[in-house]
Amino acid sequence: MQPEVIQAIGTLREKGILPDPPASHLLRIARGDLVSVRLEIRTLLYAGVLLLTTGIGLFVKEHGERIGPGVVAAALGLAAAACFLHVVRHAAPFTWEKSPDPAAAFDYVLLLGLLLVAADLAWIEVRLSVLGENWPWHLLAVALVCLAAAFRWDSAVALGLSLSTFAAWRGVSVNVLKGALGPGRPEETRWNAVVCGLAFVALGMALVRAGKKAHFEEVWINFGLLLLLGGLLSGVFGDRSLWGIWLAALAAVSAVVIWRAYRAGKTLYFAEGVVAAYLGSLRLLFEAFRNVHSGSAFALVVAGSAAGVLALIVGAHRRMKAS
């Protein structure tokens, strides 16, 4: 219940600012007589997919050999097919524009189907070793299947899975919480992250320009910036000999990102650019204070630089709002 809003609706109706309808409908919602459980349904769907795929994974791991590889592969394939059947039956016709919003379950049934396909491919690869030493290529296959599904069924979830699987194929993890870009050799992973990031950003921008699924822009660009800036930062802090070059590259890329985001009024990209640039500049401070044994001076310089960035943020917000 929102007492202020209830009171306001009455006042606005009396003053003729808010017509009826929709005033009476809005009043019902403000009183709490009608509430939406869409977020709860989404959370349940996500939890259901997570539980089910984990349960199936454990089952296959424990009993797959005993049941027989062929049976497991067929069962996973059948389950995936059932999911896709549901998706096909409930999907809107294909369009390069944004499709009408489907039921909340749609995206998650599609996600379950894609995860089952991925599991099936992985199982077949593990048991039959079709690709041999090139086994990571099955990740590319999964990424492409997810990409096709994302475009056909207008699913940001499928696109997110596609991009993260593509990055995984190149040995890069998009999960920043892990604190590392991936398990591989740092130099190789770093370059892979940078190239993947650039490719995602370029593809996202190209699709927006072409007017093809332009509403996916945020998924493409955010994943891309995460990898691109993460890769550059990894070079700044991880490469002992060439860190200066990485820092110069990071400064240049961040400047472009900040400037373009500022011009376009995209706050999230702006924030990503600012944070990456600031973190990179800390490396410069570490180097400057390497031989100066004054922790307090270092702390003050860090605080001072943060104050400078804060002034930039406030100024940029003012100008973006004004324009």
Partner: protein
């Protein structure tokens, strides 16, 4: 809370509602503007991204200055306590100044300085009572907990923060756990907190921020009562273990029997309350507590292997969600009993895009290790994206 701030918060609630109506296409732009003129809020309220950014950089400034002061001008614990006190008081003043300036009040900076004010003042109390006065036993720590409960409580009331209220209640219940009959105190005060908070959920004289705080405290009260009456908690003396002189004894059978009943019934009761009152935060709390009860059940009763439980539970949850959405959508006006699966005022396009984040973060396949010549797959993990090399 300043009366001016409370008035702005009320206006802000109406403006936010109007923005939601506009997003849902129920009103047009000029109507939203007219509502904005009718309910003015001169404070600048940037989007969450700007506020988080400002919070982060204000935090860096505060910590940088604090560390610089601590390293250069302070010797010993007394000095540290003094610096903490000084920083805390200065940050309280800074927060008050920001709260009074419409251009700064909701930028994220006031939140950062308020948070660090609470943290530094609590630290000052901890250093003073625990290390400088060296009070006997655990007395210093307990006084610090009491000070922390009061400080965060006052901060919550003054600046209208539900998070600070959570810190305050956390300190209070930690303090109570260390007292004789701690569990009983948890049940009694938890229930009291829940009852008092529930009464204030729709209190017109309170600002929207204070009502949010009441909702948060209601959840805390229920969580505390559940934690004190959960079967596992009773059996393992989990609350009594906070006491320094804790010694393990067999839990009384009557207490275990009562805990068994509350572990089973409380989630259902809270869930039912939430549904009946159409308060989703209560229903969500009930659902969360239900998960804890199921985990407790699984801990004691191994009815099936883990894979079977996860698979069945996953299928049930999925089925429940799909069924619920269909059932609600087929009702008259796409609603039943005051519930709908329609988005109402949220931006559905944005919500669908945001779904990609948790999915990519949790279901992404593991990146393979660098090319291993002669790799033979086998052993290891399976799940999530499933596109892993290992099973």
């Amino acid at each position: 809370m300043r009366s001016e701030t409370a008035a702005f918060e009320r206006a802000s609630a109406v403006r936010e509602a109007a923005h939601g109506w506009r997003t849902a296409g129920m009103i047009d732009g000029p109507t939203e503007e007219a509502i904005g003129t009718e309910y003015p809020d001169p404070r600048i309220r940037p989007s969450p991204v700007w506020r988080v950014l400002t919070f982060l950089f204000v935090t860096v400034i505060v910590l940088g200055v604090f560390i610089a002061l601590s390293l250069s001008a302070v010797h010993g614990l007394t000095g540290q306590a003094f610096i903490c006190l000084l920083a805390g008081v200065a940050l309280v003043a800074t927060t008050e100044l920001q709260e009074q300036a419409p251009s700064l009040a909701r930028r994220g900076g006031a939140g950062a300085t308020a948070f660090w004010a609470g943290a530094f003042l609590t630290a000052a109390a901890g250093l003073y009572f625990g290390e400088i006065l060296r009070l006997r036993g655990e007395t210093g720590f307990e006084i610090t907990l009491a000070v922390s409960a009061l400080l965060w409580g006052a901060a919550s009331w003054r600046w209208g923060s539900a998070i600070f209220a959570l810190f305050s209640s956390l300190s209070l219940f930690l303090l109570l756990a260390r007292q004789p009959y701690g569990r009983l105190l948890w049940i009694l005060l938890g229930a009291l907190l829940a009852v008092l908070s529930a009464r204030r959920l729709d209190e017109r004289s309170w600002s929207p921020l204070h009502r949010e705080t009441a909702a948060a405290l209601l959840v805390v009260g229920l969580a505390v009562v559940y934690a004190a009456t959960n079967f596992w908690s009773v059996e393992t003396w989990s609350i009594e273990r906070f006491r320094v002189d804790f010694t393990w004894t067999e839990p009384p059978r009557a207490a275990l029997a009562a805990a068994m009943i509350t572990t089973a019934l409380m989630p259902v009761a809270v869930l039912a309350w939430g549904i009946r009152a159409r308060r989703l935060f209560l229903a969500d709390t009930g659902a969360l507590v239900l998960i804890f009860s199921l985990v407790t059940l699984r801990h004691y009763v191994h009815i099936a292997p883990l894979w079977a439980i996860l698979s069945v539970l996953g299928a049930v949850v999925l089925g429940l969600a799909i069924g619920l959405e269909r059932w609600l959508s087929r009702g008259a006006g796409k609603e039943r009993g005051g519930f709908t699966a329609e988005p109402l005022f949220s931006d559905e396009t944005k919500a669908r895009l945001l779904q990609a984040i948790p999915v990519a973060a949790t279901l992404q396949p593991e990146a393979p290790p660098p090319s291993e010549k002669g790799f033979t797959p086998g052993g290891g993990s399976f799940g999530g994206g499933g596109a892993s090399d290992r099973f």
